[in-house]
Symmetry: C2
Subunit: 722 residues, 2 copies
């Protein structure tokens, strides 16, 4: 990774003009990160103090959880920083490389993406792995299936909480930043002043390019870092409960997700090495596919042998499925079942990517229907896109439901978790593919602003187009992994909170389900209206500069780029607070006021509604975007061909603008929202466990359990103490 990073840094940066522009972008991005970190440091310190205090109140947690929280938060922020540093270096070097050939431009931009992917995945594995070793040595004295281990994993959950909290703020803040700048720049620049995208005369253009880095690179890096860690953690928590007679002293099911992640990292490096093209007309998409598929297939094969080697032959079962010391019928599974669940995860991830691509790709039925509806105006374009977005939830949900069913069938709740771990194994490769898009986009921006010859822009546009597709499929993959991760966390939560059911037939649990379902709606509302407000502020600033600074349009005066950067920075930092706090505080309030079962209902509501809203918004946005892009080459509607600047094209621009905050702000935030709320619940679960807190807090526990016959109580205790 360091070698590759050094290689990128060594590439030429081009002429003084290009270097200056890329300098503005890098400075703007750093300015945002600094402002964000400043706010987040307050939050992190307060949260750490609270965690340390709460760690002292129950016996199976520890104040050390504050430490692992701080490390998680720091590494997540560092992962974002790392990605952004390399991206802001790679962008201008990609532009310079595009002067020579497409192959070279791909090499530079994809190497930039690879550095980020390996860095993020590596940080996650090293961070989580070494903390696990420390806490394992520190706490686990007797029983690797018992309370010692539960304590070690609870403290480790702080790491995931830290990572996911930072990820939420980075994703939301970055998402607001990038879309406020993008929408603002387009509304005045393209529509009012009639200058092209990325024109150096547009005061908001630097902010727009900074946005690509802070939103699509830093935000996504922190997001996937969080998912990766959360998936491993959830699997580890469930793995603790597995009675495994293996060569590792019974902790093989706990270690397995980390080993699979390690394999995935290695084969991501191999796969990344295969991504190359030779001629100007070779398919970039094909090269990426070869690399991606190689890493997935190799990881799957290697995983088979690792599972056979690590897990014992014979039946495996979880503590919670024991009744009177014997697993209940149908609850045990084998190591082959575990591998089956991993395959289910890989299939679900692949299908989700394919479905997402279908709904957002040019030339397919969904995008074509939006194009056709653009011919009757703005309103029908919007109706068409909303309908496509809603329709696009059907297949992913059916795949996901089948995936839950299938992975549970193969290996119970551990199967659901390990399926998510399998899906996330090649995160490094996914991230490399995802991150090269914004780098290419930035490279194109720099080419345009520096007035380089058209073939340079053509090459970066080629890369950028592929980047748009990979961004869409990446989102499908991310939402699938978030859904499975949340379910795994949900299952882990039930175990740690010591409840036997989450029964939505109870009035209070059902009320929790309703409130949970509403949270993605208010979260989305806050995020997209924040973009609307910030974009309006940007529009007014750009209009002011055009009015008050004479000579901008004649290239005689330089616009005040930094003012626009400041507007985006300030707005995004201010607006990310409210949605972030909703995600963090709601589970705490509901959990302590109404008990763990109602909190379980809340989590189920958030997860279902969040997955639906995430798919709906991301796909509607992607489809609108590509409907608009289709007009660049000309589209045929009822026998007539329309190009850019036609009335249908204008309608399609409206759809694209509406879709921007959908697909890049609120849509992808849904992933983190559902994961973060699950992790917060997992962290507070020991405090909610009715057997471990004073009776006053459990008055909302179902009366039935308190009065349950002895057999049930015995079973409940088995679940918790065994």
């Amino acid at each position: 990774m360091l070698v590759k990073s050094a290689w990128v840094t060594k590439q030429e940066t081009g002429d003084a003009n290009m270097t200056e522009l890329s300098g503005y972008i890098a400075d703007g991005a750093m300015a945002f990160l600094r402002a964000e970190w400043k706010i987040l440091s307050y939050f992190v310190i307060i949260a750490a103090v609270l965690l340390a205090w709460s760690g002292t109140t129950v016996h199976n947690s520890s104040p050390l959880i504050a430490g692992s929280f701080l490390i998680g938060a720091f590494l997540s922020a560092f992962a974002g920083y790392l990605g952004m540093r390399i991206a802001t270096k790679a962008n201008v070097r990609t532009t310079q490389a595009a002067k020579t050939s497409l192959a070279q431009a791909l090499k530079v931009s994809f190497t930039g993406g690879t550095v980020m992917g390996l860095g993020v995945a590596g940080l996650a594995i090293i961070g989580l792995g070494s903390l696990f070793i420390v806490f394992f040595k520190m706490f686990v004295k007797i029983d690797v299936n018992g309370e010692d281990m539960a304590k070690a994993l609870d403290v480790l959950a702080g790491f995931s909480l830290g990572a996911e909290s930072i990820a939420l703020f980075a994703r939301v803040g970055g998402g607001i930043y990038t879309k406020a700048a993008d929408v603002g720049a387009d509304l005045v620049g393209k529509v009012e002043a009639g200058i092209p995208e990325d024109d150096v005369r547009n005061p908001a253009t630097i902010a727009d390019n900074v946005g690509d880095n802070v939103g699509d690179v830093a935000g996504m890096g922190a997001d996937l870092f969080g998912s990766y860690v959360a998936t491993m953690l959830a699997t580890m928590v469930l793995g603790r409960e597995i009675h495994s007679n293996d060569a590792m002293g019974g902790i093989a099911p706990v270690l397995l997700p980390m080993v699979i992640a390690g394999l995935g990292l290695i084969f991501s490096i191999v796969g990344a090495g295969l991504v190359r093209i030779k001629g100007e007309h070779d398919s970039v998409q094909k090269a990426l596919n070869i690399g991606n598929w190689s890493s997935i297939v190799l990881t799957a094969i290697a995983t088979y042998f690792v599972v056979q080697w690590m897990l014992p032959a014979g039946d495996l079962f979880m503590s919670r499925d024991l009744a009177n010391g014997v697993p209940r019928v149908g609850t045990s599974f084998t190591r082959d079942g575990v591998f089956g669940a991993i395959l289910v995860g890989l299939v679900v991830g692949t299908l989700m990517s394919i479905i997402t691509e279908y709904y957002t790709a040019m030339g397919k039925r969904p995008v074509l229907s939006i194009i056709r509806q653009s011919s009757t105006g703005h309103a029908t374009n919007i109706i068409g896109g909303l309908a496509i977005g809603m329709e696009s939830t059907v297949l992913p949900i059916l795949v996901l439901a089948a995936g839950i069913f299938g992975s549970f069938h193969f290996a119970g709740l551990y199967g659901v978790a390990i399926a998510a771990a399998g899906m996330m194994a090649t995160t490094a490769m996914q991230l490399a593919i995802d991150a090269f898009g914004p780098i290419a986009d930035n490279a194109g921006g720099i080419a345009e602003m520096s007035g380089l010859p058209p073939e340079v822009r053509e090459r970066t546009d080629n890369l950028d187009a592929v980047g748009n597709t990979t961004a869409a499929t990446g989102k499908g993959f991310a939402i699938a992994s978030a859904a499975l991760t949340s379910l795994a966390l949900f299952a882990a939560f039930v175990g740690v909170a010591g409840i036997a059911h989450i029964d939505i037939y109870k009035a209070d649990v059902l009320a929790g389900l309703f409130v949970g379902g509403m949270i993605p709606f208010i979260f989305s509302a806050l995020a997209i209206s924040a973009v609307g407000r910030a974009a309006m502020a940007m529009v007014e600033e750009v209009r002011r500069q055009f009015r008050e600074i004479p000579g901008i349009m004649e290239y005689k005066a330089k616009p005040e780029y930094e003012k626009c950067v400041a507007i985006s920075t300030k707005a995004s930092i201010r607006e990310m607070v409210a949605p972030g706090l909703i995600a963090l505080i709601t589970p705490v309030i509901v959990g302590f006021a109404f008990g763990p079962e109602v909190l379980g209902g809340l989590l189920a509501g958030v997860t279902v509604s969040g997955v639906l809203m995430g798919i709906f918004q991301s796909n509607a946005g992607g489809a609108w975007d590509n409907a608009k892009k289709s007009f660049e080459k000309g589209v045929e509607i009822n026998g007539e061909t329309y190009y850019k600047k036609s009335e249908p094209h204008k309608a399609s621009v409206t759809g694209d603008t509406v879709g921007d905050p959908f697909k890049d702000t609120s849509g992808p935030s849904m992933n983190i929202l559902i994961k973060l709320m699950s992790i917060v619940s997992l962290v507070i679960a020991p405090h909610l466990n009715p057997n471990k807190v004073p009776p006053a807090s459990v008055k909302n526990q179902p009366v039935k359990e308190i009065k349950a016959p002895t057999a049930t109580v015995a079973k409940l205790n088995t679940v918790k103490y065994q």
Copy 2:
């Protein structure tokens, strides 16, 4: 009612021109109903045959269920027909009355609404009540809390199923009809040809006015008829389980919802009598509020005495809450608790109306924010409206969750159901208020088309504006009642299906929850894209007529109104089939393939997601509509005043057009979707009961229950057979 109906018929219809136009509207509306009935009669016959057959397969159902299904379907269709007949008579008479005074115009239009309200409510009470008496006499021999009564109520559920199925098709078909005509007429008429709304030269204008009747009157009539019946039925099913030592042989809890409905009907007549104004400047809204509040308060007071009289003093409890013959701690309640739950229902309904009004009324923060965002274009107007719609889910969901919690607290599951019944008691009044809006709208249309003097249009516009507000608050009320009704049906389903939990922590139940949550999305997608397609067909037909029939624009030739009516009719009939079948068939497939607990998960998913999508879409649509309307009087944005035809106004028209299918097609359909799926589940519940079907169908039942200790099995049996 007949007196009032005769009074309306007796009013003058105005000149020949007006009579001719109103004749077109009445004919178009009848043509739609006939086409709809033709398709539905096939469906009803097939469904009745299936029901009759299925009624023979389990011992606590009966083939008679097909009969009560047919009666329910017929009465629901008849309720719609009745409303439409009186509305198409009242419209032209309101126009004529508006020539003299506002007071007279209100009197005619509101009397029309009242006839419809009383007719629908009366049909429901008489139909359900007399069938109950028949089945009670026929089946109930021994135990009014036991299986005899369960059988009588199961057969009665067929009535509700029939009513709600017709309601779904009427609502969706009518919703597609009205919005296809409206959007189509506006896009060509107002935008392209530049002629005003309701201009006689617009070929789609008759279809538009027909749409007000088939969508807003017939569709809504069938909808509320269904809700009203479903609420009573769910309460009756739960009431059966209550052990009540009352003067009515133990069936007071079963009869109570019907008695409350009867009281509500009587006080609706009283309240309707109070709706009157005197001068031209009296407030119509205030007159309606006085009538509405009087009927609610009087009903609440009367209900108190009825509850005291009908229910016995002392503890009441449900069969399912018995453990070893004694109710579990905290599950019993008193008659005061039942009254408390009814009050909760009234408060929830009132708060929902108030919140809905806030989010959709002119001059309040939500609509003002959309107006402001119209100044930066179509896209920001859309973003603003979507954000408001999403935000508007927060308070209603919190109120609803508190309502579930509160009514359950007062009287358990019976409390949740009776709260819904209390809320629905004054349905007749609600419907009168809701139906007068479209009548006034039509009256305005006829005034415009007949070229009457402006003060006539001014008076009908005054009524229409009030009608828009009442339509919005009516929707808030409808969604709240649908949510509570579904929960009551959900609770009834659990009892009849003989399951003890719906545990979302089980993988298959959770998968059901996901699939259920997705259904409102695909349902909405189908409904709004149907409107989009039908509107485009309408646009093309109107363009063709303008092109091919010379002299339309000079009033020399008459447009072919009937062609546009035919397009709307055909499209709406064709497009209502797919969403209708999804609602009907999904619960059957899931129930039989995966068992009752997974079906319970599906229902919970549908209910939560449906309520959210219903509120989101209805409120976004209402807010966009009033943002557009605000431009008629001029709005101030950043110190400048904008009127109609300004750029911000054009942007607001886009939002209004997007909002049309949201608020009048897919949004209100959500109510029926969630109720219908719950009723279908309730009807098939006896077939899914694990103790009543061959073991092959219960393989997906949780293993735990099969192996449950004897005590649990005893309890389960108690629930079903006691």
